[in-house]
Symmetry: C2
Subunit: 288 residues, 2 copies
């Protein structure tokens, strides 16, 4: 009985070795994502020049203008920095703890590892910078391995199997079929990962219009990440019931969206026409 | 004679077809890089919220504090934004024309196309955003094609030929030889594209220390591009004799650096050990 179970177990492991390895990779990657924020120094100021320099500038200004209410000036500066899309006010000490929570931290590290890097949050101290370099040095290759493994699996389901199925069924040329498939996939993915998320962001971010939402989705999914629009960092915090859940949702959206952008890219690369195009630019004696 | 010349010409084209196609690709890509800035709307403000909102906030503050010298307040705000690493002052109209010159524009578009996207310059208007989306939509695939063609050619020179040569010469196992080669390449490229540029940036950017320079190089070459350190955007403009040449040099450095980062990545991917590792996570029936 035990022998039979053991044998079955061994055969199960043997048969699903790739799937089990893949599950380990996914778990390990999620762990790396979660552990990173825990170890990183709690620094989320935008620049290190500003913190010291701003204080001096503020003191000078207050000395020269005796009528100014310090609180009022504080408010103006906070608004200036807020309008510049900081998210984190540089000179309010009491904000630091509250802002650098786990979900924001996870959001930050995941944007660094996918090389999006909005720059709405950056390491302030020297240790923070060194940590950021080391975390990315191992994290980015791990992310690439993780993404390529996930993309390979999705490619089988989304591209290779459908093309093979319709090729058998309709007896169409694979070349034409691939192009039709790529176009359909492009339309579906644009709808799912650009148009619908853009609509959702309009309702969540009050001061974004449709073009701005679309611009944010596009700039994020291409991993450009200019950082001029970052959801959840504007000053309408009290209006949103679950800011952490919102941030977590965005993190998941960005990761899944990036995976499907890569699936789309790989689908285009595998088009016979595209292969021929690429071959034209490559050296013939490439595999010598 | 003409027949012989024609025949030679035809044979030359035939033999070097891949090289000629490659040259066309490089030229076309450089043209795309140059044409982009020319067509893009001249908008380089960081956010569009700030421009209107900041003015209101400033007016309110001035009304409430009659003693404040407007010029002094302007200076404080400029310093606040400068310290936040803007480069472009939001409320100085006379600065806009001067700042949005060709080289800055080329720097901006090249960072968008390589998906670095520092965010020190962003499209302000709706047309600017739409242009940015369309430019990137065609530009990023073109960049990927360009980079992959260049990387393939460099791979032959830097990785495949040396390994084949030493394999023949020393009769060593290719597996061991590949690892030794990858380590040597990593050391050389780290020196050439991280350590030496970091030293150069220390001398060029007065307020950067070595860690900050290294951090900038690393964050840029991995295409994270957080944008907290962007060379040439700080306020020591008058101290530098050729700001345009400096920016152009940085653009070239970032592009060449990115190419060699990809060469290093591809070299690691081609290690027999790495191939086996990747194969573990992939589905066996992948090429069905
Ligand atoms: K980026
Ligand atoms: K970025």
């Amino acid at each position: 009985m035990t022998c039979g179970a053991n044998e079955w177990c061994a055969r199960f492991v043997e048969r699903h070795r790739a799937a089990l390895n893949f599950a380990t990779l996914v778990l390990g990657y999620v762990l790396y994502l979660i552990v990173g924020p825990g170890f990183s120094p709690p620094s989320s100021c935008r620049t290190n020049v500003s913190c010291a320099e701003l204080k001096d500038a503020r003191r000078d200004f207050l000395n020269a203008s005796p009528c100014v209410d310090e609180e009022r000036l504080e408010k103006l500066l906070a608004r200036v920095l807020e309008a510049s899309n900081y998210g984190v006010t540089e000179h309010g000490k009491n904000d630091t703890d509250q802002n650098w929570d786990f979900v924001s931290s996870l959001f930050f590290t995941s944007t660094v590892l996918t090389t999006t890097g909005y720059g709405h949050t950056v390491p302030l101290s020297d240790e923070g910078k060194a940590f950021c370099i080391f975390y990315a040095l191992f994290g980015i290759p791990a992310t690439l391995l993780f993404l390529s493994a996930v993309v390979q699996r999705i490619m089988v389901l989304v591209t290779r199997q459908p093309i093979a199925y319709f090729h058998r069924r309709w007896a169409m040329s694979k070349s034409v079929l691939s192009v039709i498939h790529a176009c359909c996939l492009a339309i579906i993915l644009t709808l799912l990962f650009l148009i619908i998320p853009a609509w959702i962001f309009i309702t969540m971010e009050k001061d974004w219009n449709f073009l701005e939402s679309l611009y944010f989705c596009f700039i994020s999914l291409t991993t450009i990440g200019l950082g001029d629009y970052v959801p959840g960092s504007t000053h309408t915090k009290e209006a949103r019931p679950h800011p952490d859940l919102y941030r977590l949702g965005i993190t998941v959206y960005l990761l899944v969206g990036l995976i499907f952008v890569l699936v789309m890219l790989e689908t285009c690369c595998e088009l016979p026409q595209m292969r021929r195009l690429r071959q034209r630019f490559y050296n013939e004696n490439i595999h010598e």
